[in-house]
Symmetry: C2
Subunit: 372 residues, 2 copies
């Protein structure tokens, strides 16, 4: 279980197969986010049909509601949300630091107040692992601290704590049917990043996550971090870039050796009537689409594009119909899942590197807010 | 086209086949409501999978947004919303009288202000038919006036206008691929209802709708109206009871000779986390379901019940996840579609009448607000 076979390399990019208890993941892979045990507005059937294989869910949210013990009682997260393919849970760390009302961090862990009802809770590495064992995802994360990328003193402290917590997470972990990943921190300080990559790589994790990126730093900084740590990460373990990203970010991440991505962007944009397309990001409320008989993205094979016109989607958006969110989520998720699959084929064929400029040209506009 | 073959009768109940340009309708039939060219929160695929065959959409809403001319330009309502089975549109009359901000009725028609932007519009029988021809539904309605059931003077006047408008609707109608139905009015006054049934039945409509019921009168009054007009309606034309109803209403309507129903109830209840069940209407937010491993309704064959537990649905409701609305809509719509199909089988087998008490006992609680 959890073997990671690299089938092909092209530059730093890798095409692999990661074996999990709920089936194999063909990497690189993009994971839709199901924060509260549901990828917002889509059913598991629709998710499966659009080609998703890995879903991320959030430890912080599920711990607070409905509770990890309840989910364990219902047979675990796969049974609860009826997703029978692989699931990944984060450690709860990032969301405690960004969402909880108030929080107090010490060497042992963090005390925080729930964003739902203000109640007080404590997360430690041991607690995070215990919750994640109750949830029962295939891939789980060590408890980490994500620091402000512009505060290097804090980054140093947070990285040290992350390393300490990484060892405690490993000790606390008991379920052999879960792959525990360590998390590299260190902000945009290249020296700290290399140190963190070396340290985390020295521990018996089954995969390496890169945290603390896509949190406000420049794209250039993100790319420099990915490039410098690349040779410090074990070749034979999957690498997961947390919370990333746009189509452009996926192309750039894969070309710098990343195997796994997750991001709320496709579903969040969908709820704000925005659609990925090869013509750039489209604002589907725009009057130019009022009687447009084309699909959102010509040549797209998702249910939405195979079935409906831009005119209909625009009508649903203007009429505030919830179906708009569903149809746009299906399209946006499919766009990223398909992009990553296309890249995988290119890596296997040995032609990804030479096609990076073409892919960036085709998808680059989607990083920006829509102009239409 | 539009032949109506009655395959079996059981008491006043009929099992028939109504031929339309988009396929046959097995009657009795329950039509989900797609007010704005979408049955709220479900895709056409999900609608088809749950067994729906006929969908109602609203002339008033579609005329205002996105506009009937735009829909005609996009190939008509079937193509626009991608529902390739039969569609029925109402005349817009009921909604002008109940939704528009202000309205002024005269013998010729009605002037009203849009509930969306306050703009002024005029509906006449000719205009309603023109809009419905642009929309292109299989079954369309004569323009009618639905009066307050407790104001008998107004009911008389509204009925006279409805009769006048029925003749004008027939004259205005040109599309041979649409079945135009006349509408019987007359409030709960049995004499007026019989007069209206006789008059509307004397005209060359392809079906008869019964309007002005389920608008605040008692169930007993509704049943008396259906019973008294029954023998005044042509045997060989389908009968449509507009805007009805609960499971109990469907059972009572079919046993009084009704063939077609529509109602927003299943989808509206779904958005208020309420589910039909054989144990009565369930409030899925209730804490008693927090760790309930059963489906909403044991023995139900809908996607929701075949896939998810009450515990999961309850979590989605509490977490305000939109998927709750989708899953409950699928369940509630399926419940009514299936109930009517089951009744049809009973009529064909000649055992419906004797089973009415059993059916009312099983489904009767769903007329009431949930108690749990």
């Amino acid at each position: 279980m959890f073997e990671f076979d690299i089938k092909a390399k092209n530059g730093l990019a890798r095409a692999g197969i990661f074996h999990t208890p709920h089936g194999v993941l063909n990497t690189p892979v993009f994971a839709p986010v199901g924060t509260q045990a549901t990828v917002k507005t889509v059913t598991p059937d629709q998710l499966s049909e659009l080609g998703a294989s890995l879903v991320l869910s959030n430890t912080y949210h599920l711990y607070l509601r409905p509770g990890d013990k309840l989910i364990a009682k219902m047979g675990g997260l796969h049974a609860f949300m009826q997703w029978h393919h692989p699931i990944l849970t984060d450690s709860g760390g990032y969301q405690v630091f960004s969402l909880a009302n108030t929080r107090k961090i010490d060497a042992d862990g963090v005390i925080f107040k729930s964003h739902i009802d203000g109640s007080t809770h404590r997360f430690t590495p041991e607690k995070s692992i215990q919750i994640q064992e109750n949830l029962g995802a295939d891939i789980i994360m060590a408890f980490d601290e994500c620091a402000d990328p512009n505060n290097s003193e804090y980054i140093q402290l947070a990285m040290q704590r992350t390393h300490d917590w990484a060892e405690r997470s490993l000790k606390a972990h008991t379920r052999e049917d879960q792959a525990l990943f360590g998390i590299v921190q260190g902000g945009v300080d290249l020296e700290m990043r290399v140190g963190s990559a070396d340290f985390i790589s020295s521990l018996p994790f089954l995969g390496i996550a890169i945290g603390g990126l896509s949190v406000g730093e420049t794209k250039k900084d993100m790319h420099r971090v990915l490039e410098i740590i690349n040779s410090h990460l074990p070749e034979n373990k999957p690498r997961y870039l947390m919370g990333v990203g746009t189509p452009e970010d996926l192309i750039n991440g894969i070309s710098r050796g990343i195997d796994i991505f997750d991001c709320v962007l496709p579903t969040r944009l969908a709820r704000h009537h925005s659609a990925f397309s090869k013509q750039g990001r489209l604002n589907m409320m725009n009057a130019t689409f009022a009687s447009d008989p084309l699909p959102i993205d010509d040549g797209c094979h998702c249910y939405t594009c195979q079935t409906f016109t831009r005119a209909y989607i625009r009508h649903l958006v203007v009429a505030k119909e919830m179906l708009a969110g569903t149809l746009l989520s299906i399209h946006n998720l499919h766009a990223l899942v398909e992009l990553v699959k296309e890249i995988r084929e290119m890596i296997l064929a040995g032609i990804f590197e030479e096609n990076v400029p073409m892919l960036l040209d085709r998808w680059g506009n989607n990083a920006n807010r829509e102009k239409q």
